[in-house]
């Protein structure tokens, strides 16, 4: 491993300066569960690691009038041990509770999961279906982008040189909203998704007023399957209507075959998991 220096800035400004100075030779460290493994695996030669956990905004969790906001380095356990987050956003909890084992959840964050931009990331689909917003800091201040624009390719994110993710904002919805995330793995934990789906639904007058479906491990990035989601909007959530959506999701999926799964199996799984996650989200809404 290329030897690197360690920085632990205490403010966003300080962090930006270090990141800008080192450019591609620096990476942020949140939980380290990806970046340290990749650095050791010589995916990149770093001169600096910037530990962002001492910046207050990166680990705080707060509720505004319109959003749940949590720092990009907030470990998974903070989310699932927070009763209000569990109650309002069980779909987010689905993800936070199954990334790695307990040891990993003590350190890994949804922000890190997002920046790592893995096609099979467990956190990103859930964020997409919650219409999450990324708050990004750079030398010119803060900017916001929708979460679905963050991933650009396997391991490639939308951050520019010197930028880093500060926090994630989840818009608050009324009570008729819920979501669910389910992945398929051959084991029962400690595995990478062969295929995964997050679905969210909002209900109005017995009909689906909004729906978002996102797919993982079936493309170069997690996919917002908008064309599938739209097929159920304005309709009753019947088995047949759900089936139509899930078939469309399957069509959208464009996986590769690798050691974790075959193309056919992955596509089939998308159909199954779309059905199951929509049903679960509906159950959570109380349908």
């Amino acid at each position: 491993m290329h030897p690197f220096n360690y920085y632990a800035p205490e403010s966003i400004e300080e962090a930006s300066k270090i990141l800008e100075k080192y450019g591609e030779k620096a990476k942020c460290l949140a939980g380290g569960t990806d970046v340290l493994v990749q650095t050791r695996g010589e995916k990149f030669d770093l001169d600096a690691i910037v530990d962002v956990k001492k910046i207050p905004e990166l680990t705080e969790l707060k509720w505004t009038d319109s959003h749940l906001v949590f720092g990009a380095a907030t470990p998974c356990y903070v989310l699932y041990e927070d009763p209000k987050v569990c109650e309002k956003f069980p779909g987010i909890i689905d993800s936070a509770f199954l990334i790695g084992g307990i040891q990993i959840q003590s350190r890994a964050s949804l922000g890190g999961n997002l920046c790592n931009a893995s096609p099979s990331a467990d956190g990103i689909c859930s964020l997409i279906v919650h219409e999450a917003i990324c708050v990004i800091a750079g030398s010119s201040g803060l900017r916001e982008i929708p979460v679905e624009e963050m991933c650009q390719g396997p391991g490639r994110n939308a951050l520019e040189n010197g930028e880093f993710l500060v926090s994630i904002k989840i818009p608050l919805k009324d009570n008729k909203f819920s979501a669910s995330y389910e992945r398929f793995i051959p084991r029962n934990e400690m595995d990478i998704a062969v295929a995964a789906v997050a679905s969210s639904v909002e209900m109005q007058d017995g009909k689906v007023s909004s729906c978002r479906i996102a797919l993982a491990a079936v493309g170069p990035t997690p996919i917002y399957a908008q064309a599938a989601s739209e097929l159920i909007i304005g309709k009753e959530p019947t088995e047949d209507n759900i089936k139509i959506v899930s078939e469309k999701a399957k069509e959208i999926a464009s996986p590769i075959a690798d050691m974790r799964g075959t193309i056919e199996h992955r596509k089939d799984l998308i159909e199954v998991l779309t059905r199951r996650t929509i049903s679960k989200a509906l159950e959570r809404v109380g349908v």
Binding site: P3, A8, G31, L36, R40, I49, I102, Q103
Partner: protein, 161 residues
């Protein structure tokens, strides 16, 4: 090695109740720090990428894979390892239960399992079998098939009540 000059960093940390100052290369893991710098080797390396749990330690009340933490991150932290479980008065109930239930064969994964299980019982005195299996999912054992490990944790939970 490169134009990037890397210097060792002084770290003040508390390990198993003992406060200490150590000097570490900023790029080495907390696992390597414990084993090579501090010189306590009870914490084991099985994979160095967070998938076996043999290096599990307790960092400020949370279990972590110490291979995925940098040594420099130990600054100001409270670390507990397997070496800190027994007291001069005797073994921790989990250690005793592991012995009585034959919950170890080769023993290489045992320190990680003990540290993980202790964190569980510290917060949940009476976990179900399912909960124990879920909590220990990040700790691999290749010898036992987990049966006796789960039984030992259950036994320790009953006895420490």
């Amino acid at each position: 090695m490169s134009e990037n000059k890397v210097k060792k960093v002084a770290v003040n940390t508390t390990i198993n109740g003992e406060e200490m100052d150590i000097l570490v290369d900023p790029y080495i893991s907390l696992l390597e720090t414990l084993r090579e710098v501090v010189g306590i080797t009870g914490t084991k390396e099985g994979c160095n990428d967070g998938n076996c749990g043999a290096c599990t330690i307790n960092l400020d009340g949370r279990i972590v894979d110490s291979c995925l933490v940098l040594g420099v991150e130990a600054e100001g932290k409270n670390i507990e390892t397997v070496e800190g479980m027994a007291t001069p008065d005797g073994l921790h109930p989990l250690q005793q239960a592991f012995l009585e239930e034959a919950a170890l064969q080769c023993g290489i994964c045992t320190p990680g399992f003990l540290v993980s299980a202790k964190a569980l019982l510290d917060n949940e005195p009476d976990p179900s079998e399912e909960r124990i299996r879920h909590w220990l999912a990040g700790n691999l054992c290749r010898c036992t098939g987990y049966d006796k490990i789960v039984k030992a944790v259950t036994k320790a939970s009953k006895e420490s009540k």
